[in-house]
């Protein structure tokens, strides 16, 4: 069970997507686990053959527990356990797996996101409750075509468990308590003129079909990733043995969920993606997260976080760093405000950008340079 981010210590295995004897490649999605934040897909860490599953479906296990044994191709089954240190002791070494004649596969293991498998539409909250209560969603009768909702599942349960929302709130509380306890935050705020950035987006979108349109959020992601190059101590993890700066920029994007709560999974390599690719990544991530399905690595590997209030928020937010990261950038709701431009007071689209950063790693002077660099990057959107 890989790390699932700062606030989760355990999860329940809900899907085994490959069978013993199947070949797996590093990055293949081989399992799904149920957590307080929804269903998370688990990727294989290495190439090889899946020898056997060590955890049954429905079992709740701690982070670090081996889920399955993967052996390298060509090795005998008994030779190389994937995680020998913490593998449970076995009464006898497993028999060498005979080459099986193509066992039936429960899912396509080599597609990155097996989301197009035929599946009943079910809300994330309902899925969580179904797992908690052991109800099989396929037995739920709903209006034809309507997604299964939480209340559909709840009607089939006789106990009065607290709603799944409570679990999400517990996870957020745990992470934020840890952050407020361990991280000496400092806060900076800076107002940024977004008129150029918005004009760039409007001009680009004029010729584009809705599928290809940009949002300001993609520009924020790129402007932050590029600023990290100049102030790299905003990007990385602070662990027991100090700060580890990250070369890659994996930007966690705070995404609110309709059922309440939020998660901040990562957009990988935001520094090397082109603007259009970032937009595609952002759209894909938000869609998957709101469908209640994302990947373990997306929760554990973010190196810095962006939280944006969008069009219907307020002027400014004060972020709380998501451990073990060391910085969070907050972008308030852009609005037309009086602003001095070309020595004249003019109505310009502005937004307040804030930074909360870790004083163990940086100080206000470097934080100010970071915010100023984000500002500068947003003034020349065509270079992003």
């Amino acid at each position: 069970m890989p790390s699932l981010g700062a606030d989760m210590t355990d999860a329940t295995l809900v899907e085994q997507l490959v069978s013993p004897g199947d070949a797996v490649q590093r990055g293949d999605i081989i399992a799904a686990v149920e957590t307080q934040k929804g269903v998370i897909e688990i990727e294989a860490f290495e190439d090889g053959i899946l020898d056997n599953w060590l955890v049954d479906i429905g079992t709740n296990v701690a982070v670090g527990t081996p889920l399955a044994m993967i052996r390298e191709k060509g090795e005998s089954a008994a030779a190389a356990p994937a995680i020998p240190d913490i593998a449970p002791p076995k009464p006898a070494p497993p028999k060498p797996a005979p080459p099986k004649p193509a066992p039936p596969k429960p899912g396509p293991p080599d597609t990155p996101i097996p989301d197009d498998r035929p599946r009943r539409r079910i809300s994330p909250a309902a899925r969580r409750l179904a797992v908690q209560t052991g109800i099989d969603p396929s037995t739920v009768a709903t209006r034809s075509g309507a997604p299964i909702t939480r209340s559909d599942i709840a009607m089939l349960t006789q106990n009065d468990r607290p709603p799944a929302q409570t679990d999400m709130r517990t996870a957020i509380a745990a992470a934020m308590t840890r952050s407020k306890r361990d991280i000496p935050h400092y806060y900076l705020s800076h107002t940024v003129d977004l008129t150029n950035a918005q004009a760039f987006v409007s001009a680009e979108n004029a010729d584009r079909a809705p599928d290809d349109r940009l949002l300001l959020g993609a520009l924020y992601l790129k402007a932050i990733a590029n600023a990290v190059v100049k102030v790299p101590e905003m990007n990385g993890h602070f662990t027991d043995d100090g700060f580890h700066q990250s070369d890659a920029v994996h930007t966690g994007l705070a995404i609110s969920l309709r059922s309440g709560g939020l998660v901040a999974p990562a957009i990988f390599n935001a520094d090397t993606q082109r603007l259009d690719d970032l937009m595609t990544s952002m759209r894909d991530l938000i869609t998957r997260v709101r469908a209640g399905r994302f990947r373990a690595r997306e929760l554990s590997d973010a190196t810095i976080t962006l939280t944006s209030l969008g069009d219907r928020g307020v002027d400014r937010l004060y972020g709380i760093i998501y451990p073990p990261q060391v910085a969070i950038v907050g972008i308030g709701t852009p609005a037309m405000r009086p602003w001095v431009h070309d020595e004249q007071v003019a109505a310009r689209l502005t937004a307040t950008v804030t930074l909360a950063a870790d004083h163990r790693v940086s100080d206000g002077r470097r934080g100010a340079l970071f915010l100023n660099t984000i500002d500068k990057n947003l003034q020349t959107p065509d270079t992003l």
Binding site: A206, A209, P210, L215, S256, M282, R312
Partner: protein, 81 residues
């Protein structure tokens, strides 16, 4: 394309994005984003889905004509006619 077809399509696409909010609970003359609690990504997804369904471009410059449920339905009636 009848008015009923358009209203049905719009209701279906909104339900996809905001399944927790029923059409009966909202004011169709008020701001769509507020009524359905949708953000700019949700709205872009709505425009994308409706554009494909009705084979319309739905340019950003027309967004002001799509402010409320009623306005968006009227826009689709005009454009898809």
């Amino acid at each position: 394309m009848t008015d009923q077809d358009i209203e049905t399509a719009l209701t279906q696409e909104l339900h996809r994005i905001a399944p927790d909010i029923s059409l009966d609970d909202i004011d169709p003359a008020q701001d769509l984003r507020d009524e359905f609690d949708i953000d700019s990504m949700d709205f872009l997804n709505l425009v994308t889905a409706l554009g494909k369904r009705f084979n319309l471009d739905m340019p950003e410059t027309d967004y002001p004509e799509m402010r409320s449920f009623n306005a968006l339905a009227a826009y689709l009636r005009t454009q898809a006619a």
